[in-house]
Chain length 439, copies 2
Amino acid sequence: MDVTDLIIDVEAHDIRFPTSRHLDGSDAMNPEPDYSAAYVIVRTSGGQEGHGLAFTVGRGNEIEVAAIRSLAPMVTGLPVDDVLGDLGGVSRRLIGDSQIRWLGPEKGVIHMAAGAVLNALWDLRARRAGKPLWLLLAELSPEELADVVDFRYIEDALTREEAVALLKRAEPGRAERIAHLKAHGYPAYTTTPGWLGYTDDKLVRLAKEAVADGFTQIKLKVGADLGDDVRRMRLAREAVGPDVRIAVDANQAWSVGQAVSWMEPLAEFEPYWIEEPTSPDDVLGHAAIRERVAPIKVATGEHTHNRVMFKQFLQAGGLDILQLDATRVAGVNENIAILLLAAKFGVPVCPHAGGVGLCEMVQHLAMFDYVAVSGSMEDRVIEYVDHLHEHFTDPVRIRNGRYLAPELPGAGAEIHPASRAAFAYPDGPEWATPVAEAV
Amino acid sequence: MDVTDLIIDVEAHDIRFPTSRHLDGSDAMNPEPDYSAAYVIVRTSGGQEGHGLAFTVGRGNEIEVAAIRSLAPMVTGLPVDDVLGDLGGVSRRLIGDSQIRWLGPEKGVIHMAAGAVLNALWDLRARRAGKPLWLLLAELSPEELADVVDFRYIEDALTREEAVALLKRAEPGRAERIAHLKAHGYPAYTTTPGWLGYTDDKLVRLAKEAVADGFTQIKLKVGADLGDDVRRMRLAREAVGPDVRIAVDANQAWSVGQAVSWMEPLAEFEPYWIEEPTSPDDVLGHAAIRERVAPIKVATGEHTHNRVMFKQFLQAGGLDILQLDATRVAGVNENIAILLLAAKFGVPVCPHAGGVGLCEMVQHLAMFDYVAVSGSMEDRVIEYVDHLHEHFTDPVRIRNGRYLAPELPGAGAEIHPASRAAFAYPDGPEWATPVAEAV
C-alpha cells in the first residue's frame, strides 16, 4: 500500500529566556530584552520534524505565536514532497494570502511568522536530504534557486534572468569553496564586549579576550549617552589596538542630523561601521547619513522588513554593509533574494546574529552566499554573540574567530526539548520563580 | 471623598462581516475580503467608553486582536485624566515599548494595534469634551497639537518648530472654515461602482448613479486583466462623461515597469490618478512610475505603515496624492504628523476609506486638516463606499457627493452593540450559518 507522507502539524511554542536579569543584550533601544523564540515544529506523518523560529525580545512573543498558528492551516495536511518540492510556491502562498496579507503586507509580525514556518520547512528538507542547509542550498542549480525566489517588486533591480546568470557565473568555483569552508570556516566578529549595560572593566576585559580569541572585529553599542560612548570607544580602541576593527551600533536611536553629529567625536577612534543609525525604514535618511559620515561605513538590515526595502537601500546608496537577519524576513526564500540583490550591487553581506538561534541559523546563509552567490569572503563577517548556544542541538562552533561549517543535517534552529520545556512561557519552571516578571 | 476616574479595561473583540459572499470590495489583490474590525473598547471606572478599531479583511483579525490585548496592560489602571491629558506620551509608550517594538518597529500588526488603542482613547477624549473629534482637534492650540506628535525620525523633513509655525499660519481662518464645514461638508468620491467582481452592467449603472448623486469623482479597480480594464474604463468614461474624474486603483498588483506599460492603453480615458501601482514599500519605485505616467497622478498611502515612510514618499516625489488611513498607522497622533508633513510639502491628502468604519473615522482627520492644517479643500476628496454604515452609531451622512460634518461627540468608530454581537467571530449568529467559511 502506498502511503503518502503528510505534514500533520505545524506547532507554535512560546519560549523565552530571562536575559534581562543580567543585561545581556542591552542597547540604546532595547534596555532589557528577554531573548525569545516563537518556535515552530513541523511534524510529518512519517515522524520527521522541521524546526524554525522567529526571534523576538520578550513581550509580544505571544503575538508572533498567534500569527504562526494563523498560518499553520496553509501547509497542514499537504503531502510533504509537494511542499518541499515547491517551497517557492509555498512561500508565495504564505505571504500572499489575500486576507492575512492586509496585516503587512510583507512586514512585521505576519512576515516573521511566514519566515518561521518557511525556515522550519527548509530545516525539514535539509534533514531529509541529510545535509546542513548551507550545503543543500549550495548544491541546488541556479534555476532551482531562482524558483524559490519571489521576484515580484524587485524586477526593476534584478530579474529572474539576471539572477540565474549571476548564479551561473559562480558555479565553476563551488567545489573549491565548499572545501575551503569545510577546512577554514567563515570569519566572525563579536558583539559580546559591547553591551551598554556592561561596566568599563567588563568591556575592556571582554575586548581583550576577543582579540586573544582570534577575532579581528568587535562591536560596541552606542547612542544612549555621548560622553559614555566616547569613553567606552577610547577604552575599546586602547584594549584592541589599531588593527582590530571596531563597529558601533546605535540601534535606531537617532534622527538623521543627530546621527551625523554624534559620530563626529567618535571618528577619531576609527569606527569601522555605524550600524542602525536611525529608523530602519528610512532609506533616504541612511543615504544622507552615509554621505556625511564617510569613510565610516553605514550598516543596517536586522530590522529591514523585506526584499523591497533592501532593494531601495541598494538603489539609493543607503548602506555599505548589508546585515540580513535569519528571522526578520520571509525565511530562507527571501534571504536568497536579498543575497542576490546584494551580489548584483556588489555590497558585502555581514549577517546580523546573536539573540537566540540567530548565529545557528544565519551562518548557513553566509556560507551559501560564499559558495554559490557572491563567491567571496572579502570584508564579510558573521556577527557572533556567546549567549544561549547551549540550548541548541547543533550549536555554532567558533574557532580562532571563525564559524566552523555546520556538519549535521538541518538548518540549525532546533532547541533541546529540555530547554523548550524549561523556558516555556509563562508556565515553564524558569518563569515560575519570584524573579520572573510577566507583563 | 475624591475618587479618581481610572481606565479599568481595554477590551478587544473580533468582529467580521462576511462581505466576500457578494464580492463587495473585490480588487486585484483582495479577491474575497471579509471586512473586519479588531475592535477596542476602553472602559473607565466612571462608566464611560471609548471606541476604536483596526480594520482588516478577514483571516488574521485574530492576530490583531491578540496584539491589542498585549498592549492593553500599558494603559489599564491609569487615571483617565493623566492618559487623555498626555496622549503624546501614551503614544510614545505604546509604540516604544522596548520589547514589543521588536515586532515592528512601527509597522504592521503591532503598529495597527497601537493605532486602535490610541483611536479609542481619542474617542473617549472627544466624548468627554462633548465634541466630534474633528472639532476637538481643530480647537487645540498649535502647541497642544505638536505635543501629541512624535517628531523622532522626521525632523530632517519637519521639526516641531516648523510644525507649530505651520499650524499658527492656519489659525486665523479656523472659525470661518469650521462654519463652512458645518454648512457645506467636505467633498467625497465614490469607489462603489468600481469593484472588480462587478459585472459591466452593474459598473455602468452604479457609475451613472454616482454622477446623479452629485459625485465628481469615481474610482475603478484595475490590475487583474488588461483587456477587462480597458473595456471597463471605456464604459465608465462613457457613463460619467468627460468632466467627472475617474481614478484607478491597482492595489499593488504590478512591478514598476509593468505599472508604466499597463497605464499606457488606459491613458486615453484620462484616469485622474493611479493608486497603489506597486508595493506600498517601494518609495523609489513610485517615484519612477510617477515620472513616467505623468500627467496621470500617483496616489498611495492606505498601506504606508508610518510617518517615516510618508516622509520619504514626500522627499522622493513618490506621490501626488497622499491617502492616509485611519487605522494603518499609530492612530490620530501619527495621522496628525502625516497631515503636517503633507502640508509642509504642499501635497493634497485624499484619505483612504471604505472597509468597515474607515469612512466614519477618516472624515474627522480630513475636516481637521481643512480647518487647522492645510486650510484647503482644493483637489481634496475623501473616499466613500456605501458598505456597512448601518452598523455604526454615528454613520456618515453623504449629501450631494459630500460628507456632512459629524455633530455627535466622539471619533466615529462605535459599532452598535447588536451588530457587534451578531458579527462576533467565530461564534456570532452571522457566522453560524452554512454559508460562513471559517479558516
